[in-house]
């Protein structure tokens, strides 16, 4: 997986008032218009706020990763499009809030939910790929 291969998130923009919604909406929450157009959202943004999920959510519906549950960060990423998107946040550690606070993050997955990663996580990941098997 490369960052470039990730499809962008698709939202909608209101033709009447310009408001951007994610996911794509049927009616505009700002002005009530139903004249909305599909729009691709930016692949990067800034962490607006976050927390850490410390315990495994109830399964179902939660599907833990194959290697088992580990605490993960979750929060809202403010995009330049004018909307804050809820996302799982990838960081090298969730125990150092400073890595995520106001951090610039990049979209790394859109399914099952948006997923953004910090610069530090992306660097550590590409470093790991360089030393890994080819």
């Amino acid at each position: 997986m490369t960052v470039e291969s990730v499809l962008p998130l698709t939202g909608s923009r209101c033709s009447s008032c310009g408001n951007v919604a994610y996911p794509a909406a049927a009616g505009c929450q700002r002005c009530g218009s139903s004249d909305l157009a599909s729009v691709e959202l930016a692949r990067w943004g800034t962490v607006w706020a976050h927390t850490v999920q410390r315990f495994a959510p109830k399964s179902p519906p939660y599907v833990p990763p194959a290697e088992g549950f580990t605490p993960f960060a979750v929060g809202y990423v403010e995009l330049p499009d004018g909307v804050k998107v809820e996302a799982v946040l990838e960081a090298t550690t969730v125990d150092e809030p400073a890595e995520l606070a106001d951090a610039r993050v990049t979209l790394v997955a859109t399914e099952p939910v948006p997923r953004f990663a910090t610069e530090a996580w992306l660097s550590s990941r590409s470093a790991a790929e360089e030393v890994g098997p080819r």
Binding site: N19, Y22, Q53, P57, V85, E86, V113
Partner: protein
């Protein structure tokens, strides 16, 4: 206000786990307590409004209360269920449709209730798979942003929770009656940073009922009436930040529905936040009480740390908040909590709150609930 409506009776069931007792039974207990408090009988009630989130329809209670044939509207507005029921009762009296009206709220949630399904919230199922259908995340994200934005130290969270348990220990009807130290609260299991287990309320059990009456009926009954100066429910404005939102739309700081509802209530009542002597604020977790203090206009954003450090929200303080222990000490039976708050303010304004009585004969009180999907209801009461 076109017509002064008074609360002439208030009643609660016990709160907390009561195995073998149904939610509907808790509602009937609360109604009987409210009727006794008002000095009336069930056939005196001319119209009723009520509901629960998950413990049944209120209009079925007539099978136990007596089949008097009155209109009984079931309402279902989450945490604002009690507020909506109260508005229904008040509008029925103000419109002349009834002289005596009842509002009732109740619930009995199983342990670990509140398991939301993404599809019920209009979300793709992926939000459940990914572990994002967890209500506590919302509260944590909101307070985390708030503390950082306004420079409030996390220690305020444990202080507020400790006050809740302390007030609960003075309330013989509370679920949690054991005081808990700030250290115990801070040291408990972290749920979602910065909120630990003991900072949250738990799904609970209880019923609450309020009887309102026209001025003529209140006078005739010689009731120890408390005036309902305002009751204002509101839904969220554009751009607000709510539980299970896949996004927050719009730029800038999200508006608060609590601000809208409290302003509407103060305007109706013709008083301001500074005039209030005792308040009940939604405390789903202790951070919520902190934010709601400012959202409802009682202090500036960021001032709370100073307020809490100075003990201003204690029973002995400038603005006692959640004198009965709030949701943290009473649990959260969703349908009941709003009217529990009104019951507590009525009790305080009558000077009947015993060990937890606010000193100095409080004359004006305020209640506030907030909940999904972005609703709030506030009342102003006075004697």
């Amino acid at each position: 206000m076109s017509l002064d409506v008074s609360i002439i009776g208030a009643g609660l069931s016990r709160f907390g786990r009561q195995p073998g007792v149904t939610g509907r039974q808790l509602a009937v207990q609360a109604i009987h307590a409210a009727l006794a408090d008002a000095g009336i009988a069930w056939p005196d009630v001319q119209v009723a409004f009520g509901g629960s989130d998950g413990a049944g329809l209120a209009d079925t209670l007539v099978a136990e209360l007596g089949l008097t044939g009155i209109p009984f509207t079931n309402v279902k507005n989450g945490c604002a269920t009690g507020g909506s029921a109260l508005v229904g009762a008040v509008n029925a009296v103000r419109s002349g449709a009834a002289e005596i009206a009842l509002a009732v709220g109740f619930d009995k949630h199983p342990r670990g209730a509140f398991d939301p399904r993404p599809e019920d919230w209009g979300l793709p199922t992926g939000y459940g798979e990914a572990g994002l259908m967890v209500t506590t995340q919302f509260f944590a994200v909101k307070i985390a942003r708030y503390l950082r934005e306004h420079g409030i130290d996390e220690s305020a969270l444990a202080k507020v929770a400790a006050k809740a348990y302390r007030n609960g220990s003075l309330n013989p009807n509370a679920w949690r009656q054991e005081p808990m130290s700030e250290e115990q609260i801070t040291g408990a299991a972290m749920v979602n940073d910065p909120l630990t287990q003991y900072m949250f309320c738990s799904p609970g059990e209880g019923g609450a009922a309020i009887v309102v009456a026209s001025p003529a009926a209140a006078k005739r009954l010689g009731a120890r009436a408390v005036k309902l100066l305002a009751v204002a429910p509101r839904t969220r404005a554009f751009g607000s930040f709510e539980v299970f939102s896949p996004s927050i739309q719009g730029d800038g700081i999200p508006p608060s529905v609590s601000t809208d509802a409290s302003r509407a209530a103060f305007e109706q009542a013709g008083v301001g936040p500074d005039d209030i002597d005792v308040a009940q604020l939604q405390d789903t977790e202790s951070g919520a009480e902190i934010m709601h203090l400012a959202e409802c206009g009682f202090c500036e954003h960021g001032e709370q740390e100073k307020w809490i450090a100075a003990g201003e929200t204690e029973i002995s303080g400038r603005l006692p908040v959640n004198t009965d222990g709030g949701c943290i000490a009473n649990g959260e039976p969703i349908g009941a909590s709003g009217l529990r708050q009104v019951h507590e303010i009525v009790t305080q304004l009558r000077g009947e709150a015993g060990d937890r009585q606010v000193p100095g004969s409080p004359r004006l009180g305020f209640t506030h609930v907030y909940g999904a999907p972005g609703i709030s209801a506030c009342t102003v009461l006075g004697v």
